[in-house]
C-alpha cells in the first residue's frame, strides 16, 4: 500500500459558514497502521485538522468518529480494509465544535442522569463487601464502557429524541449499577427510567451493538432493565 486517499469533514467556526469536505492524500502508508496514525500524519500536513485522541489503544475513548459511514475509534481501526477515499466525519447528531470534535455535553448529561455511582444505604463493613464471582460476573460487559459515545450517537432513537432518550451508553451504566449486588437503589433507579422516553425509546435497532468498539451489548443491558421492571411491577 503506497498511498491512501481521505475525505475529511472540516468546519472551523471562525472562518467557515458551514461544513465542507476536504481531500487528503497520505503517502507511504505502512502495513498495520491505524486510522489515528494516519490522521496524525495528515495533521502534520495541515496543522489545522482537528480531532481528539489520547491513549491510542482504545481505552480512553477520545477518538470516536464516523468512518466510512459507521462509528468507531480511530486508534483501533486498521487502515487496511477501509474503502477509499476514506470518508471521515464527526459522530452523528452532536453539535460540531470544530472538524471532528463534537460537543459531548448532551451525552455526558444523560450519563450523569442515571446516577452512575454505587448507592448503599446500609452501614459499610470494615472490610470489603462480599460478592461472589457469579455476582461479579454480572458486571462483565457493563463496567468496561469507555464513554466514547459511538453507540449513543449511532442510535436513531437518540437522533430523534436526543434530549429525552438516555441513549445506550447511559442505559448500559444504569444496568451496571442495577445488577451490582452491592447497590441498594434498585427501585429508585427503575422508577427513574419509567416513562415513554428515557428507556423505552429503544426499539432494539441494535445500532449500538454494531458499533461498540469494546464489543459491549447495550441492547442486552436494556433488556435486563426491562426485565427488572417487569419483575418489580409483579
Amino acid at each position: 500500500m503506497a498511498s491512501m486517499r481521505f475525505r475529511i469533514y472540516r468546519y472551523n467556526p471562525e472562518t467557515d459558514t458551514g461544513p465542507r469536505m476536504q481531500d487528503f492524500v497520505l503517502e507511504d502508508v505502512q502495513p498495520g497502521m491505524m486510522l489515528r496514525d494516519a490522521l496524525l500524519r495528515l495533521k502534520e500536513q495541515d496543522e489545522t485538522l482537528t480531532f481528539r485522541h489520547s491513549c491510542g489503544e482504545g481505552v480512553c475513548g477520545s477518538d470516536a468518529m464516523n468512518i466510512n459511514g459507521t462509528n468507531g475509534l480511530a486508534c483501533i481501526t486498521p487502515l487496511a480494509g477501509l474503502k477509499e477515499p476514506v470518508e471521515i466525519r464527526p459522530v452523528p447528531k452532536l453539535p460540531v465544535i470544530r472538524d471532528l470534535v463534537v460537543d459531548m455535553d448532551e451525552f455526558y448529561h444523560h450519563y450523569r442522569s442515571v446516577k452512575p455511582y454505587l448507592i448503599v444505604h446500609d452501614p459499610e463493613p470494615e472490610v470489603e463487601f462480599l460478592q461472589s464471582p457469579q455476582e461479579r460476573e454480572k458486571l462483565d460487559g457493563l463496567y468496561e464502557c469507555i464513554l466514547c459515545g459511538c453507540c449513543t450517537t449511532f442510535c436513531p432513537s437518540f437522533w430523534w429524541n436526543p434530549g429525552k432518550f438516555r441513549g445506550p451508553a447511559a442505559l448500559l451504566q444504569a444496568c451496571r449499577f442495577l445488577v451490582d449486588s452491592r447497590d441498594q437503589a434498585t427501585a429508585e433507579r427503575l422508577e427513574d427510567l419509567e416513562g415513554p422516553y428515557r428507556l423505552f425509546r429503544c426499539h432494539t435497532i441494535m445500532n449500538c451493538v454494531n458499533v461498540c468498539p469494546k464489543g459491549l451489548n447495550p441492547t442486552a443491558a436494556i433488556n435486563t432493565i426491562k426485565r427488572l421492571m417487569v419483575k418489580d411491577m409483579i
Binding site: L193, G195, R201, M229
Partner: protein, 113 residues
C-alpha cells in the same frame, strides 16, 4: 389505557398483543390456505360462531392497541413539533377508537338476523 401510557405498560402491551396477533395470523393463514372458499352464508355462519367471535374480538383489541403503541412511537420519533404531534396523536386515537367501535358493532351484527 390512558393517553399518556407509561413506558413499561405500553411496551408490555405491544409485546403481548404482538404475540396474540402472531398466533392469530398463523391460524388465519392456515384457514386461508387449507380452508374451503366460502360464500356469504358460510362466512356469516363462521363469524357467527361464538368462540370465533371471541377470537376476533380479541384480535381487534390486540390489533388496535398494537397499532396505537406503534404509531405513537412513530409520531414521538419523527414529529418533533409538539403541537403537531399532539394533534396527530389525538387524530390517531380518535380513528382507532372509531375503528374499534365499528369493528365491535360489525362482530355483533352477525348475531342479528
Amino acid at each position: 389505557m390512558t393517553f399518556r401510557a407509561q413506558g413499561l405498560r405500553a411496551w408490555l402491551l405491544q409485546r403481548l398483543s404482538a404475540a396474540y396477533l402472531a398466533l392469530f395470523t398463523i391460524l388465519a393463514v392456515g384457514w386461508l390456505l387449507f380452508g374451503e372458499p366460502v360464500d356469504y352464508a358460510a362466512w356469516r355462519q363462521l363469524l357467527g360462531t361464538p368462540w370465533i367471535s371471541v377470537l376476533m374480538a380479541l384480535f381487534f383489541m390486540a390489533l388496535f392497541f398494537h397499532a396505537w403503541v406503534g404509531i405513537r412511537d412513530v409520531l414521538m420519533d419523527y414529529v418533533p413539533h409538539l403541537k403537531l404531534r399532539l394533534f396527530l396523536l389525538i387524530a390517531v386515537a380518535v380513528l382507532l377508537l372509531a375503528l374499534a367501535i365499528w369493528s365491535a358493532l360489525t362482530l355483533v351484527s352477525v348475531y342479528r338476523p
